[in-house]
Amino acid sequence: MTDRWRDLEDDGRRTAETIFSALDVARGLTDCRAPSRPSVSAIWSALATGRALPGGIVPDADLDALLADAASVAFPRQAAAATPQDGIDRHADGARLRVVPSLGAPGQSYLAISFDDPTATASRLIAVGDGAEPLVFALPPPVDGMVQILVDNSDPILVALADADARLYLV
């Protein structure tokens, strides 16, 4: 065994080099102060436990894939935009979502979600549009396989539902 640099052959010097750079990089990773994003597990956990989604989520295809796996029902994009006044009607495997104008209050609409399986349940409706943080809407427990809420037509969830590109998830 030698402890002189000149006695190290190429392999030995390369080993030293590799160890040094690995130490340096490992330290760099550990010490980095880059701003963190909402973690995948924080998003998933929020979906699973009913807690609020962490702020700062940037929608992308990966988020959609994650939401689709976490959700009990995923509504795809719809072919054309609609307005609450027209009555929104979106179908997915397992559920149907409609927005029905209230006859009793013209400025309000019913958001009605009916499940194919009467025992199915969902606690939240999440709407993901492009370029904005996901919109989360708490749902009451379904009754006989149907969730119904009454909202003002100005409610952001109706605006999101009217967006043909919005993806909807029942979680």
């Binding site: 029905v100 006859l103 009793g104 209050a105 019913y110 119904q148 409610d155």
Partner: protein
Amino acid sequence: MSGRLRVVIATTAGPSTVRRITAEDPALRSVVCLAGTATALPISGDYDAFVRRPTGVVERDTGQRVYRVDVDRPIDDGRSWQLGFYLAHQLKLADRLAEDDAPAEGIVWATGTVDSDLKVGPVARVVDKARRSAALLATGPPVLAVAAVEHADDLPAGAAPLAVRSVDEALAHLGLVAPVVRGPVDWDPVDWGPVDWGRAGRGGGVLGVSLLLGGAAIVWGLWQTPRSQPATEMPPAAGQLAAGQPAAPSAGSVPVFAPARVSFDVLESRPVGDACGPADVADPGPQGPREVCAVAFRATNAGERPVRIWLYGAVQGGVREYASRRRHTELAVGILAPGEAAEVRVQPPDWVRRSIDVRGLLVLADGDRPQVAQAFGAIDLLSSAEIDALVDGLHDQDVEVREILHRVIPAR
């Protein structure tokens, strides 16, 4: 007593007024909202069960599956709202519910449960509810306090007390008829007795009968006449048709009956700007013209003698089942003098994006036809199938009946 009434639900937090009842899409669930807002009260689920068959009685007795009720103060829990809501539904059906800020001749203060047999049950803390209603009783129109017989001594002072065993008794006092689907009742007219309005001392009555027609229990006639008026009234002056509201049948007769001289037409209106334009005569049929904002049915007497008519227009099919019938039906009853025309106008629901059928019904008679009057008095209660049965029954009795079925696609 034939005027409009306001209904308040007695609660321990004070009276909560029924501001409005609206039929909603039958695919939804009934909901109780706070003062026109989107805030659904926690009793909504129970209210839906109270409305919806098979547990509910409101759908059974009104033919409508889903309602929205707006109240002006929260009703948090319990079932004591059932009696008040039920009475409000029946008043609404008779077009006698004072909604929103419409003037009311009286107030129905109610607390009690209603079971599937329409028996009224006792509830808790009626004395507290009465005490919390003091302000209501001190001012405003006369109040009729309705509750189960167990609470006969608990009802608020200053109100006309009405302790009942069943809803029927309350309906009778309000000048309303009991629901039909609970089975046939006697042919004989029933005198429901006077309504004691307490301080006001006003009276009223109702005449209601039903018969079995075509195997189905159908209301043939129910309309109220003020008890102070004679049982047989004089026919109104020629041309004075009561459009939009059923008129009382008359015992007056028309000397010459010439039905062939009475024409029956359908007219369509299309939007002009934001308004619905003038009506033009259309060819009746199933072609389904688009962008129709109103359909009218017109009866024109080209004869030389007056003729008694019952003219009715209504949207048919599924829409009729859930749309508020009052918005999409119209009835005109009266004497049509020679050269005169009567018209009913129906607005198809503008949220429907498919063809709908509008039915026009014209009955012509040479004189008083009590059974026709009774049937038309309650025609808004009938489903499309029941109207079909009614028409068949009238034909069987050789009554002159004409019918137009016209298909349109409503304008937005």
